[in-house]
């Protein structure tokens, strides 16, 4: 079945440093979604990418969908304490329309 892996599993960064998480799917995706889950909270939708090679920005966050539509990345510039949480990608497979969540990257910020 479809598998979605994320690396790294954990990332500790100094406040102000950049952060990147990578998402890799075992199969080609129809689209990919990104969610953020704060400690003790529930996943909150951030963005959806549909096109091959697509890049979208939200303030300090940059999302990219790979050319082969099997990988994606989230980059945060100049992290702030409000960025703390676990970032999940979720890939939608072609045909089966099944959304599979990745393993997540937990970001902690050192003030």
């Amino acid at each position: 079945g479809q598998q979605v892996m994320q690396i790294p599993q954990y990332q500790h960064v100094q406040e102000g440093e950049d952060f990147t998480t990578y998402c890799n799917s075992s199969t080609t995706l129809s689209n990919i979604q990104w969610y953020k889950q704060r400690p003790g909270g529930h996943p909150v939708f951030l963005i959806q990418l549909v096109k091959s090679g697509e890049v979208k920005k939200q303030k300090r966050l940059t999302f990219q969908f790979g050319e082969a539509k099997k990988n994606s990345s989230l980059h945060i510039t100049a992290t702030q304490t409000t960025d703390v949480g676990t970032y999940f990608c979720a890939g939608l497979g072609f045909g089966n329309e099944k959304l599979t969540f990745g393993t997540g990257t937990r970001l902690t910020i050192i003030p």
Binding site: G41, H42, F45, F88, A90, E97, K98, F101, T103
Partner: protein, 114 residues
């Protein structure tokens, strides 16, 4: 707009007991999902409803888990009997149409099976 409502927020039971969770999705959302999130892992889909019909329940342990969506609105998820490995957060989510659109999650029910 009101979000996805879930109850209870926390539940502690002993193994072999039964438990039920309730979810009310965002008004007008046709698709409702139940996810299981074990600590440190990503959400795993248990069951997906489109209106009041089941679209996908391939990962639902049907010998102990059951779910229904009455009249295509709110939904209940039941576990009977519970096992230790069922300890997790049970998240309900909804979307307007299907998984190609963004999901709105409820606050979840944290289940501890002792």
């Amino acid at each position: 707009e009101a979000g996805v409502a879930q109850s209870p927020r926390y539940k502690i039971i002993e193994k072999r007991q039964s438990v039920a969770f309730w979810c009310n999705p965002i008004s007008g959302h046709a698709t409702l999902y139940w996810y299981q999130q074990i600590l440190g892992q990503g959400p795993k889909l248990l069951i997906q409803f489109q209106n009041n019909g089941v679209v996908d329940d391939s990962q639902l342990p049907k010998d102990r888990f059951s779910a229904e969506r009455l009249k295509g609105v709110d939904s209940t998820l039941k576990i009977q009997p519970a096992k230790l490995e069922d300890s997790a957060v049970y998240l309900c989510a909804s979307s307007r149409k299907g998984q190609a659109e963004k999901l709105f999650f409820g606050s979840g029910t944290q289940l501890s099976v002792l």
